[in-house]
Symmetry: C2
Subunit: 678 residues, 2 copies
């Protein structure tokens, strides 16, 4: 899905360094708000935050905090959060997914990145300064000005990653201001009984037919990793919501689009503690978890809120706790004495989950075949209805969501549907809303980036189409984006290559003519879990590629105020067949898992090399072989015909055909010359 | 030059993590030594270290150290070291460039990587265990077994990088063993008066015609960076020998192949302290440094050994010291209070030095033209003399060194000449020695990786040749290495792209058929400074590429026991001409600076794309245009003829020609058909 969302918001949440990744020029723009007049001019979309701020400032005085920092994430470093965790949104009125607020007794400021500046100006009232950057250094400078030496700066350590805490700590170090972790969340105090209640919906076991292995097998595998580790950890601490959901084959719906539930796990070599609201577990789930009791495969249920106390007790013993720093908050981390810590970027559960076994691969492939049916239905529907001028972006989004819902095992979209026409697609994270939605037309390009949750797998695909006459630049840019997608997809590379070191292959065709895109090139994906499943992908903090990993490949090109292109497919890392072999492990390549043809109307064949065309033709054969039968099974004959038409092989012109042509002509010539007696 | 040397030895010195970069399978090989028999069997090349170890153990007892760690680098994290700093070599007998020794009262062990295992077995006596790994974790485990809890482990903090210190510290943390920095170096004590004296040769100013700017301009530039930095540092501390040499336009010869001298610099916003043996400065150098006295451009000369004391005094004030952690030892770093430190990977001097100005670029280009003359002379000489069977690797090395010496401004080789025939070239770091040198023959491939120091620039080039009939695999591998070199050299990419993210373009042609190489792809290079000039290059700890940087590009392929291929050129990062432009800065590409043709006998043209052939042809035109006139100027007519022959344009077959061929044939056909009245 929309990669700006994840390169910035996500990296920001995890690393607090989005500004470092996506360089932003200092802004000289004017604010939509005018706070210099009396009364101030505010757009109607702004929220009055005076009472909320007053309440927060009251709690700050009680706790002696001269400044309070409010982040946008939750206690599990989740990419998507629940309403109950939308503290930043409640306090500021700003509903973007990435930002940081700092409040003092007389000032309040919000930091966010360029994607959200306009939105923030529309939503903030005049209590708030908008800071158009996200660097912790800049937040620190602001705090140094606003808080006198000797003052305390506070935050909730259970809402900050270890890295982000350390960055704040470094910035304030030696300045005379002290960074104080406060376990009481002051926004929650101010929010009071208006704060949404925790989810109470059922947490359920995945049916066995939708799991890659039993939870007992998964636990045994993690314990084996513990035994094999040179540091011999005695326990693994899991904070990421996907980690616990995956380990126990449990799902819930505490967070939109992600079938997870609030929980922590402490898995030791002899015990298993699952911290969760136990009453929410279905009977079957509870039975499954208790089936090994008593014994090392007995899951002890503990209150969600008890994780800190339990961890504190556990780490008094002669133990070593293994955790992944990317998903652990500073609050939990700080409980464990340094010498009892085994820190890696990702927990062994994240690492195990990243490599799908044969059953999981089969399920993800199957989900993508059904997903392709829905997308093909949508493309055909668009082709027929757009020219009548009755489809807008919002309606389109609703329609494709409905088509997915109709597919077997569907559990709804895997993220907010991106449906963007014309210049709206230049904003890579655009989602339409009812009432302010652009009408699709044959005169504009249309980009849709959508995905589904199915019991057997999560999907994510982007296609860009044009039903009329694209401009030469649109056609060239689309073709170059496609070339990038092809070049990376067909790459052969050694096992354990870092995605970061090969993602440029998706950019080269654009680079050749001075074009580029400002987001990452792909991310892992789950089996009925997150659409952005780390640690797989092409970012610098992703782990090396191994056979069995799934990732998206999604180059794009965006032209401000004009159009946007992205072509995204999910691929599976598989062993390659190579003529030679160096090293002990086979080389790898990608197998296409997304199975939807590209828009022929936007492809300039002259730019493609014969190898690229051959690759495209073999991909189309694959689509026909896998999706064709499913379309027939679902009696979608018109879609089947559309697919046949859309996957006609392309002529391999350029080198291949031309050379063959030369041969034919040369033979013909020699016959003719022979006939002439030459 | 030989990239294994720098990926492993260098990365090891700087990061202590070579094992993590070049994965090594656990070895099951037998040692050449047999220490189980009495008397032990030792090869004649082994050194008796009994007395040396006894002396060291004596000093260890005096200082209460149960274990002592001896590294291979010096106090400046230099890649090459002087004899006086060869503590590891003296203590162990092992003369490889990378390793770590640990000594206790009854044990002694040496850790080194796979390049050096055979050499270590030949050089160590039975006092030494050989540990075939380099991970600090493994060294730590060994120490934990050898030293009882409560014991002290010591090292000289002025010989360890900050990172390496931290790694040892982590490994021993909480184990009951204490890591004690000892400012007295115990090996030096044991070595006593046998230790070579410090260099006493002259330190001289580079003539103005060989400098890119005056040292005063450079100092002003660094002070400007200090003022512009958000932390407002008051001083920059320079530990790297190249840093001080570059800043003051001074050179010396304390270290083989690198024209540097032992020194530190503390540059503050108002003063300049140069820590050096002042009596060694030439009169002109001294005058130049004192020309701005008194004043902010007055260089105060201080004793080399006074740097710690001076730094301790300076940091008592209200100051902030900016340093690059990659070149600073833990010893100096530890002197500065944390809140007065501004740490970055590289100092502002390293960053400034990395981008060559127009004059420096011009000088480096000129040095490479003269260097190409020497290499072309050598290639022609080989062609004529090898078939007579009179040239061996050592003689070849001597000959090319002599040819370089004969070029204007020459100051000798820039590293130990690599001259490797047949299977010897499979060892990427092989250098021949007199008496054990393989004879070159028309039946084998020959690889030479050589470079020169010239007053205007440092050079580094590798060519691989075959005078007879290469095997199909040799030809394919050579061609694919060349394709990699071409693909990376002609890449167009955005400004500030990290080398690490594009170096795979140099590997792809090999990867396609399951081949690869186990070293890095390139490194920066200096103006009469280091042949491996950081922070430029394609490694993960290199900085993003900018116009004005020079780097080598050097893919290879090595087949154990058979042959080795490497093709290395130096290139300059320049602005690219692109059809479009996205972003505010122009895209970049590389300009070829090395100007020596490749071996036509080893190129399989059928593998190259038309674009690759066209690129090669334009490179050859460039060689003719730049080196041809210089050959004539030097009256090297035979070499001139050789160059013309060797740079004949290649036919652009494949796609391009074939398509053109089709056109020609088609036209001919239509004429004929017309003639036939068809």
């Amino acid at each position: 899905m929309c990669p700006l969302l994840w390169i910035t918001a996500w990296a920001l949440l995890l690393h607090g360094c989005a500004a470092g990744r996506v360089p932003q020029a200092p802004s000289t723009r004017n604010d939509i708000r005018d706070c210099s007049v009396d009364p101030p001019y505010l757009p109607p979309t702004a929220t009055n935050t005076t009472a909320r701020l007053a309440a927060l400032r009251g709690t700050m005085r009680t706790h002696g905090a001269l400044a309070y920092i409010v982040p946008s994430t939750d206690a599990h470093m989740s990419e998507y959060i629940s309403e109950r965790d939308a503290r930043l949104g409640w306090l500021t009125g700003f509903t973007g997914s990435a930002g940081t607020a700092v409040v003092t007794q007389d000032k309040a400021a919000l930091w966010t990145d360029s994607r959200y500046w306009t939105q923030a100006e529309r939503e903030l009232d005049c209590n708030w300064e908008l800071q158009r950057t996200t660097s912790i250094e800049s937040i620190g400078m602001w705090i140094l000005k606003a808080v006198p030496a000797g003052g305390n700066v506070s935050l909730d350590p259970f809402l900050f990653s270890i890295d982000t805490w350390n960055s704040y700590s470094r910035v304030l170090h030696g300045s005379g201001r002290t960074l104080i972790p406060l376990e009481t969340n002051l926004v929650d105090q101010a929010w009071g009984d208006q704060r949404p209640l925790p989810s109470s919906t059922e947490i359920y076991s995945l049916p066995a037919e939708f799991t890659g292995s039993s939870w007992q097998e998964k636990v045994a595998g993690i314990r084996q990793r513990m035994e094999q580790h040179v540091r011999r950890p005695t326990a693994v601490l899991l904070s990421g919501l996907e980690e616990t959901a995956w380990l126990f084959n449990l799902r819930g719906d505490d967070i939109p689009y992600n079938p997870v539930f609030y929980s922590y796990t402490l898995l030791t070599n002899t015990t298993i503690s699952l911290f969760v609201e136990g009453s929410r577990l279905s009977v079957a789930a509870r039975e499954s978890l208790r089936s090994g009791c008593p014994g090392p495969l007995c899951v002890e249920l503990q209150e969600y809120g008890q994780v800190s106390a339990h961890l504190r007790r556990y780490t008094q013993g002669n133990v070593t706790v293994w955790l992944g720093t990317e998903y652990t908050t500073y609050g939990l981390y700080g409980i464990i004495p340094q010498e009892k810590l085994l820190e890696e970027n990702y927990s062994p559960v994240m690492m195990a989950k990243a490599v799908k076994n044969a059953r999981e691969q089969e399920m993800l492939r199957a989900a993508h075949v059904r997903d392709a049916v829905a997308v093909i239905q949508y493309l055909l529907w668009l082709e027929k209805t757009v020219p009548q001028g009755q489809v807008d972006e919002f309606l389109g989004a609703q329609h494709i969501n409905a088509l997915r819902w109709a597919q077997e095992h569907s559990r709804g979209p895997s993220f907010q549907t991106i449906s963007a026409s014309g210049l709206n697609a230049a904003l890579a994270h655009y989602s339409p809303s009812n009432g302010s939605s652009r009408t699709l037309s044959a005169g504009e390009m249309y980009l849709f980036d959508t995905g589904g949750q199915y019991l057997d797998g999560t999907t994510d695909i982007t296609r860009t189409v044009h039903w009329g006459e694209p401009t030469p630049l649109q056609k060239e840019a689309y073709t170059r984006v496609l070339m990038g997608n092809i070049d990376l997809s067909r790459l052969v590379f050694p096992s354990h290559t870092a995605g970061r070191t090969v993602e440029s292959f998706a950019r080269r065709a654009l680079w050749d003519v001075g074009l580029n895109y400002g987001h990452g090139t792909g991310h892992g994906i789950g089996n009925f879990l997150s659409v952005h499943e780390w640690p797989v992908g092409f970012q610098s903090n992703n782990v090396p590629l191994e056979a069995g990993m799934f990732t998206s490949i999604e180059p794009g090109y965006y032209r401000d105020g004009e159009f946007g292109i992205r072509i995204e497919d999910v691929v599976l890392v598989v062993e390659a067949q190579t003529e030679h072999q160096s090293g002990e492990t086979p080389f790898l390549t990608f197998e296409m898992v997304s199975l939807v043809p590209y828009d022929r109307n936007l492809i300039d064949l002259r730019l493609l090399s014969p190898e690229q065309i051959r690759y495209l033709n073999s991909y189309y054969e694959r689509i026909r072989a896998h999706v064709g039968p499913e379309l027939r099974r679902q009696r979608l004959e018109e879609e089947y015909e559309w697919l046949q038409k859309s996957t006609q092989p392309f002529p391999v012109n350029g080198a291949g055909t031309a050379a063959a042509g030369t041969l034919v002509l040369a033979s013909l010539l020699s016959v003719l010359l022979g006939g002439l007696g030459a």
